[in-house]
């Protein structure tokens, strides 16, 4: 067995097992950490696919930046047990919640199969990939991102900006003393 394949199975197993454990955990703090582990395993798979830049971006953006925010939220809410939705306090019917979850999962599975089929028909995933040279350089990714997909890129960033402004407006305290020297 070539050692690439051994590594692939090892990291794939870590990714799958840790992702399963994310939803099997009662403690949300542990769930967040297992999700980070799963992201790391995915990054290792990207390295095996000769895409080191994507791998490092995965770690910086998802494992490094986004999951820290998740961790903060979970940490500050300080719930040792997950709210399972069965409690009367939430006011939701648990069977309908479960049915909705199952529906979403089925939709997700259909989408995945569809996406995998389409990319296989296209041959290469993205244009501009040089045939023999498997390592994809950063400048190539940059050129494609800012030439072919410039609109999508800018639209996404504006969307995130709007969401940020919205969140700050909603959460901002109105009518507090603005001259206070401590940031609110």
């Amino acid at each position: 067995m070539p050692h690439d394949l051994i590594l692939f199975y090892a990291f794939a197993a870590v990714a799958v097992v840790s992702t399963l454990l994310v939803i099997a955990q009662a403690n949300p703090m542990h769930s967040v950490l297992l999700l980070i582990l799963s992201f790391m395993a995915l990054a290792a798979l990207y390295v095996l696919l000769d895409a080191p830049f994507v791998a490092v971006t995965q770690i910086i953006v998802y494992a490094g930046a986004i999951m820290v925010l998740f961790l903060f939220v979970v940490m500050l809410l300080n719930t040792p047990r997950e709210d399972t939705g069965d409690s009367a306090a939430t006011g939701h019917d648990s069977t309908s919640t479960r049915a909705f979850g199952a529906l979403l999962a089925a939709l997700m599975a259909i989408e995945l199969v569809w996406a995998l089929n389409t990319t296989r028909r296209l041959g290469g995933a993205l244009p501009g990939r040089a045939g023999a040279d498997a390592s994809w350089s950063v400048s190539e990714i940059g050129a494609i991102l800012f030439r072919n997909y410039a609109f999508a890129f800018e639209a996404t960033s504006i969307l995130i900006l709007i969401a940020m402004v919205g969140a700050i407006t909603l959460a901002g305290k109105h009518g507090v003393d603005r001259k206070s020297k401590w940031p609110s």
């Binding site: 703090m29 080191p52 971006t57 494992a63 820290v68 950063v138 020297k181």
Partner: protein, 340 residues
């Protein structure tokens, strides 16, 4: 096979030297602090107190390992391990010398580096951001208010300064056109007018300033040492830690300092390039430069008072970040203009 063996030896050597550097830095820190405060510092253990780190280590090993009753037992143990592992990992992609055959022992030269990755700069960045988890988890799992506050401060600080850190890195990447630290160092060989070395610190003084400032904040050192501001937070995120798990945090901090200094040397100070010495002895220049930056770190800690927390945040978001964005824009424009 000898190449593989040589690389393994280099990896082991780097690991060993990083361990030692933490011990040496503790001694340097105490000694320099003492001299700045008109004291003698460690004096009794060994000649001029040089064996003091050894005594410290023995003391730390024999101390009792304590754990708060309400702590999350798994994460409490895991947190210092994450911190130390991240500190060691980051150095793996840092080159510290030119290619060498070890005085003709090997048929073909090997680079003095654990792994030459073509996205090395980003790897350092990614691994540093993983180090935040060690601190956050330490603070949360200790179940103590001082630890939690220290961890919150620390992660807020690291996230804020990571942006400026990344921008400063990006402006160097624009100049060199490569993300491999080895390529970046090699782009800085030679000199202008036979006098000024071709180091990026002369082309990018603003980026160097931003990088070092953000580096101090990233390593939680004075004057940005809020996570462990003694007067407010006892000891911050590692309040509840003792014995070797405390030592792991302590070691991680010093190794991070070494890594930041080594990366700064590679990015801005020309790595192992320098006058007088031949390329094969370039690692001496590398060591000297790193030692100077480390001394600067210690010097700064014992000279500058700690900022206030809101001042730190204001400085990070309202001064350092706009400055780094502006610097990046000017650099990009300059590179485009010269390329055209």
């Amino acid at each position: 096979m000898p190449i593989l063996l040589a690389q393994l030896i280099i990896a082991g050597f780097v690991f060993f030297m990083l361990l030692n550097s933490a011990a040496v830095m503790v001694y340097v820190e105490r000694k320099v602090a003492a001299r700045i405060q008109q004291r003698m510092g460690p004096w009794l253990v060994g000649p001029r107190g040089a064996l003091q780190p050894l005594a410290d280590i023995v003391k730390l090993i024999f101390k009792e390992e304590l754990r708060p009753k309400a702590a999350d037992s798994v994460l409490f143990v895991l947190a210092p391990i994450i911190s130390a592992a991240a500190a060691f990992t980051a150095f793996a992609v840092v080159p510290f010398g030119a290619e060498t055959t070890f005085f003709g022992l090997l048929d073909q030269p090997v680079p003095l580096q654990v792994a030459d990755v073509n996205v090395a700069v980003l790897v350092v960045f990614a691994v540093t951001s993983m180090g935040v988890y060690g601190i956050v988890l330490a603070g949360w799992s200790s179940n103590s208010k001082y630890s939690l506050l220290g961890a919150l401060r620390s992660s807020a600080q690291m996230i804020s300064y990571e942006l400026s850190y990344g921008m400063a890195l990006a402006s160097v990447l624009l100049l060199s056109g490569s993300m491999s630290l080895r390529d970046i160092v090699n782009a800085q060989s030679g000199s202008w007018f036979y006098v000024i070395p071709r180091w990026y610190v002369f082309l990018q003084p603003v980026a160097f300033f931003i990088f070092m400032t953000a580096g101090v904040a990233e390593t939680n050192r004075a004057p940005f040492d809020f996570p462990e501001a003694e007067q407010e937070l006892v000891a911050g995120y590692h309040t509840e830690y003792s014995s070797m798990s405390f030592a792991l945090f302590f070691m991680a901090e010093y190794i991070n300092m070494v890594t930041v200094s080594a990366v700064a040397t590679d990015l801005f100070l020309g790595g192992w390039h320098g006058p007088l010495l031949p390329e094969s002895l370039g690692w001496i220049w590398f060591l000297l430069k790193v030692a100077f930056l480390l001394f600067f770190y210690v010097w700064m800690r014992w000279t500058l008072p700690r900022y206030r927390y809101d001042q730190l945040m204001q400085f990070g978001w309202k001064v350092l970040l706009p400055l780094s964005v502006f610097n990046l824009l000017v650099t990009a424009a300059g590179v485009l203009y010269l390329a055209a």
